[in-house]
Symmetry: none
Subunit: 225 residues, 2 copies
């Protein structure tokens, strides 16, 4: 799957590229609207992620120009926080979906997957560790036969950990992978969610899937060494 990201803020761009590549996508980047338009026209991408505020021509124009030129690649627009208008305008100019900044990584991935699926791709695959099963598409979790109710954030944290089962993930990494890019709060929040997850997925079942590695982070226990 080849994606094009059009985004001038390097910080955001880097984060998105890294994350999406880790999810298995191939991502190329344009830093302004003109490059973006040109690359989207020439290259054959499965999806374009398009910031609105851009040097050169802005996101709306890029989107409209592409559609005028007969290019119907799915487009996901990144709109600014305050602009309520943005959404409507984004869809008017031919975008397929939009996402309001700031957004967290799982949300972006979900949207990208959603668009690709609607465009004819396949459903996200359930993930399993031992008898713990997550379905990212439905955002539901089971331990054996028993379904477990998680909040949205709890699910994101758990999915992040389960997808990297066995690896030690630091609070830093978890924070960066699950929260908004500009989140600047207390890392203790990770501890709080770990606590809540343990209370829901481990304690009622007398398990200890979610282990602390003091000084390094957390790890989902797997059977394999």
């Amino acid at each position: 799957m080849k994606l094009l990201l059009v985004e001038d803020d390097r910080k955001v761009a880097t984060a998105i590229v890294r994350g999406l590549e880790a999810e298995g996508f191939h991502v190329e980047v344009a830093f302004d609207g003109d490059d973006g338009f040109w690359m989207a026209s020439e290259g054959s991408y499965d999806l374009v992620i398009l910031d609105i505020m851009l040097p050169g021509r802005n996101g709306y124009r890029v989107c409209a120009d592409l559609r005028d030129a007969g290019n119907w690649t799915p487009i996901l627009m990144l709109t600014a926080k305050d602009g309520d208008l943005d959404e409507a305008e984004a869809l008017d100019t031919g975008a397929d979906d939009f996402l309001t900044k700031p957004f967290s990584f799982p949300v972006l991935v979900a949207r990208v997957r959603g668009l690709l699926r609607r465009a004819g791709g396949r459903n996200p695959v359930p993930v399993e560790v031992g008898d713990l099963r997550l379905d990212p598409g439905q955002r539901r979790v089971w331990r054996g036969e028993q379904e477990i109710a998680l909040t949205s954030r709890e699910f994101d944290v758990l999915e992040f950990l389960v997808r990297r089962a066995g690896q030690v993930l630091s609070k830093r990494e978890i924070l960066a992978g699950v929260w908004e890019f500009d989140f600047d709060g207390d890392p203790n929040i990770v501890e709080v969610y770990v606590r809540r997850l343990r209370r829901k997925i481990d304690e009622p079942f007398d398990q200890h899937t979610l282990a602390t590695v003091r000084g390094s982070g957390y790890r989902i226990a797997t059977d394999e060494p």
Copy 2:
């Protein structure tokens, strides 16, 4: 794995290169920003470690210039101690992670591994000496089938020794390789950790993997001469 280190302080550069090569990376060095940019552009590196204070063009510029040129090699920036601003600016210019000086060697290695992993590389490879096996990603240790619980520091010391199995490492070297670069405590701490490791990895198994070389340091015994 081929890394590029851009660092003008030769003493620091040498120390880092030695260490990373012992970890199994192939490291090349540039001593100023211009060389660094040129090498990063021409050579194909898996990761660039970039100091900020550089003659020629500084780290930020090198980073920004690389990104502008469409080069998305993961970049780890080394920022000065006091600069809180540095972090933000490093990420703004497109760095993937940063590390504040002074840092300890295991931390540097962990960050490098983390970046390579996020960039889609393989998981860190387990290390083995005889029937002693360490998995750096999981931070777990086994002797044969039996898992051994180590603290964070114990693990760092053991990993440092095992990766240099067969070599004699002085207390000075171990101190420099595992503790923060500016650690200024009693070198006896190394003896204390050697003692703890022996008690955990050798004594219960009637082995003597961790040998003292009086007057010189310690060595992990290997089968090969």
